[in-house]
């Protein structure tokens, strides 16, 4: 098989350049030989990406984080290395004897002349190991805090729109629709259908979640599927799915499988429901209860208003009664007293008013006096008039020999201009 492939490559001139390996003498150096073999292997597309199943042995992890082990079957083995960056991301820690499937590529460690499997992803091959994988992932995410109650968001009481991640044609969706419609038809539903089992399911579930979470018309998201075996539900143990649920900004209710099934998605959810129907019930209120509640409030309102009227009426009645308490006799007596008292007040008030008026008059007189001509004259000024009665205000108004009338404060006399 390999020979034929090599021939094919040589037709396409895909073989490594002979010349750089100094083959004039056809005697190879070790480095050249190893280098050539490496190139030969690196060219092969099948060795560039493959999955190998085998049993783990001699597993060890250096301080650097790089993991080294051997994969073997009944008659062969191959050396494996998993760099720290990949080892950190894998959810399993293999122990010797484990059956695993290693994803990666084959290449050559030139210095040692060894071809190896460079592993990028490891997963358990056997059934029993599923449980261990589950426990290890659960522990790792729990340690990160993904299941902490503080991160759980409250589910809205009256969602206007609910997003659902589920299979389009399975019973789970039918059950959810039935429950929602019966309990709270005021809500509306938007379904993002996905596969709910198999290899492609996790990626689809994550995509559906992202799409719904990115919308601004959704209030709550339900992630759901019906019952099945551990393998059937395995997609909901996927780390990507768990993180997508955790990262979602909207509240997420997870209802996967039956009451006794617990997937990683259940732990990371804002609210876990034992079944799809239960998820729907937890998402919405009950219409019958709400209708009763509104009626109840209505009744309370009417009662409160009637009560208010009643209170006001009682107060009014009270007032009227205390007024009516005055008998005719006592009314007369008190009237007389009242008249005396009133007339006293009137007198006093009148006196006061008179005083006020007098004061004002004096004040006005004083002001008036201050500006009247009389006071000016009293201060020594004189009013000078011509024979015809007009006022002299300037020296230009008079001529020599003219007769003038001088008026002072207490009288007047004539004078002649010199």
């Amino acid at each position: 098989m390999v020979r034929i492939d090599l021939l094919r490559y040589s037709e396409n001139t895909m073989i490594p350049h002979f010349e750089q390996y100094g083959l004039e003498d056809q005697v190879w150096s070790v480095s050249d030989l190893n280098g050539y073999i490496r190139e030969l292997i690196d060219i092969d597309y099948r060795l560039g990406e493959l999955q190998v199943i085998g049993e783990v042995s001699n597993f060890s992890q250096a301080k650097s984080g790089h993991a080294y082990f051997t994969l073997k079957d009944d008659s062969s083995q191959i050396r494996c290395v998993m760099w720290a960056s990949f080892a950190k991301r894998t959810s399993i820690v293999p122990i010797d004897g484990d059956a695993v499937v290693a994803h990666g590529r084959v290449s050559v460690y030139e210095a040692m002349g060894q071809y190896q499997l460079y592993v990028e992803r490891l997963e358990h091959a056997g059934r029993g190991d599923l449980a261990r994988e589950f426990e290890q992932l659960k522990q790792r995410l729990a340690d990160e805090g993904l299941f902490d109650p503080e991160h759980k968001v409250q589910i809205p009481a009256f969602p206007v729109k609910i997003g659902i991640v589920t299979s389009a044609d399975a019973a789970a969706l039918r059950d959810i629709r039935t429950v929602l419609k019966r309990r709270w038809p005021l809500t509306s539903v938007l379904i993002a259908p996905t596969l709910v089992q198999g290899k492609e399911a996790p990626a689809q579930i994550v995509e559906a979640l992202l799409w719904l979470d990115g919308r601004n018309d959704i209030d709550t998201i339900i992630v759901s599927r019906g019952g099945g075996s551990m393998e059937d539900l395995w997609a909901f143990n996927d780390e990507g799915v768990a993180r997508a649920i955790f990262d979602a900004t909207h509240p997420v209710i997870v209802g996967v499988g039956h009451e006794t099934d617990f997937t990683i998605a259940d732990f990371v959810a804002d609210l876990r429901a034992p079944t799809p129907s239960a998820a729907a019930e937890l998402a919405v209120p009950d219409i019958g209860e709400m209708a009763e509640h509104v009626q109840d409030l209505n009744q309370k309102m009417v009662k409160a208003v009637l009560n208010s009227f009643h209170q006001n009426r009682v107060y009014l009645d009270g007032l009227l009664r205390s007024l009516g308490n005055l008998s005719p006799r006592s009314a007369l007596d008190s009237n007389r007293q009242r008249v005396d008292w009133l007339s006293n007040r009137l007198e006093r008030s009148f006196d006061r008013r008179m005083d006020q008026a007098k004061n004002r008059l004096e004040l006005s007189e004083a002001r008036l006096a201050a500006v009247s001509p009389i006071s000016t004259l009293q201060r020594g000024y004189a009013i000078v008039k011509k024979k015809d009665g007009s006022l002299v205000r300037s020296v230009a108004h008079v001529v020599e020999g003219e007769e003038l009338e001088i008026h002072v404060a207490d009288g007047g006399f004539t004078a002649t201009v010199e």
């Binding site: 009256f158 005021l186 509306s188 379904i191 559906a208 709400m290 409030l297 309370k300 208010s308």
Partner: protein
């Protein structure tokens, strides 16, 4: 104070306002005029809530493989 017309309110908002109205009315510390006004408002809120409950019809939509949103309420 919610200035929206009652008919624009969601059920949740209307219910919340209705409950507040009832609480205020039950406090008995209002003048008669206020009482009557609040009562009227409360009545229209209660009617709104009830009618929303009665006329509700759940709409169901689904995302298709072409990226369209299809109304499947009837199915």
């Amino acid at each position: 104070m919610n200035d929206k017309e009652p008919k624009e309110l969601t059920f949740e908002a209307a219910l919340y306002e209705l409950e507040e109205t009832v609480t205020k009315l039950e406090s008995g510390e209002l003048a008669l005029e206020e009482t009557l006004q609040l009562f009227e408002k409360g009545q229209s809120l209660a009617v709104l809530c009830s009618s929303q409950l009665e006329s509700a019809a759940m709409r169901v939509e689904m995302l298709t493989s072409d990226g369209e949103i299809l109304d499947i309420s009837a199915e």
